[in-house]
Symmetry: C2
Subunit: 249 residues, 2 copies
């Protein structure tokens, strides 16, 4: 198990409690918050590890690196065997639509899937420290059980996002595609006490397919938890033929 | 234009010289090396910028962030208009196969493509500071000219990797798919003078389709420059139906 909010995050503690129902838990997670760290790996800074005592029930290691560093180190150095399942999260904040590409939570899940480990990332659409995880607590088990029993296709992971909604209005799961769209940035430009300029990233998501009922944003807006199966082939196959004919290569 | 090796990298200087033949150049690149930073964005550290004087011919700004931060800031704050083309690199080191997902060079190109800007990342299979860029210098213009004239499909970028080979043995371009495979890590575990353990990431690529003549690794091994068109939809569509029927959602 890993996450991108770091070893102290409430979301991780919730996911540990969920996972304990299914077997032995081994956590390798970032020492500090790594939101937005995507699929980053540490090539310049060496990785330090800290073993956290948690009793006999499970292993817990903190790493001063990215979520992907945690997964690589876990597989190569710490795990006694290939795990049956990799879980990432629960992320404080949404990783739906194009946010999947910036997400450290999904970076970790995708990295595990590369090594043939079935992997699931869980996120809720509330990035506050006090995010409510009740819906995940109650519903994650269905998916975890299914994936443990039936697996996932080779090198496929699941990106699962939960809406912020009361239990009584929650409509259950919906299997979706990644919503097409882009973040529209609006940097907040400020000046420090010495006159130096600096920028904070802000922005909002611009949905390019608002009426697609098969998209994850539609599902979330309609009180479903969205499940998007994720692959790691970036190739745009249609464009191969276009370029071949156009360039004569 | 951006890169992931930082504003001082020789590869960036080569790409600037190539680009000058086609129009006005605006560079927004990382202050320091950002290899392996993938699609990371800065959410905790504010972004600082440094304007570098380069005369009238082009603009040059250094940012203390990731390649994707550079592209977002450029589009939102610095560029006078949407550029006709975004170039990233020339990267010192290969970004073929699954390396595309860890690559800051391709992170920058993919980010630009999200905003509808045709984007090309250039890399050479030599990560040394003294990498030879002759093949790129001579051959990049063909692709840049084609993309300026004919564009690319919406939100598609190109990942172009050059082999390390003499000019006389170079076989030209080949349009390819991303080679299936995974990095096999072999962490180098060391101890500091105070007994503390730390780890350096090392490893080698394990090719899962060595005989696929349409893959970028095959092309590079056979002295071609590999062009892979890249999209940003992570959805594994085949798995949507599998999960729907299996889970009854």
């Amino acid at each position: 198990m890993s996450n991108d909010d770091g070893v102290e995050a409430r979301g991780l503690k919730h996911l540990i409690e969920i996972a304990k129902n299914f077997g032995n838990v081994f956590v390798v997670a970032p020492e500090r918050g790594q939101s937005g760290k995507s699929h980053a790996i540490s090539l310049v800074e060496p990785l330090r590890v800290r073993r956290i005592e948690m009793g006999d029930k499970f292993n817990f290691i903190a790493v001063n690196g990215s979520p992907v560093d945690c997964v690589k180190l876990a597989i190569n150095q710490f795990l006694p065997r290939k795990p049956d399942l990799m879980l990432s999260g629960i992320n404080h904040g949404s990783n739906s639509a194009i946010s999947v590409i910036y997400s450290g939570t999904m970076g970790a899940a995708i990295e595990a899937s590369l090594y043939g480990i079935p992997a699931i990332g869980f996120s809720v659409q509330d990035h506050s420290k006090n995010a409510n995880f009740d819906l995940v607590d109650e519903n994650a088990g269905i998916i975890i059980k299914d994936v443990l029993e039936n697996g996932l296709p080779h090198q496929v992971s699941l990106n699962i996002n939960f809406p912020v909604v009361d239990k009584k209005n929650f409509n259950g799961y919906k299997v979706c595609s990644q919503t097409k769209g882009v973040w529209k940035e609006d940097y907040d430009k400020r000046f420090d006490p010495y006159g130096g300029e600096y920028y904070w990233l802000t922005g909002e998501f611009s949905n390019q397919e608002k009426n697609n009922q098969g998209s994850d944003e539609w599902a979330l807006k309609n009180n479903y938890a969205a499940i998007v199966p994720i692959k790691i082939d970036f190739t745009e196959y249609n464009t191969i033929e276009i370029l071949k004919s156009r360039l004569n290569f």
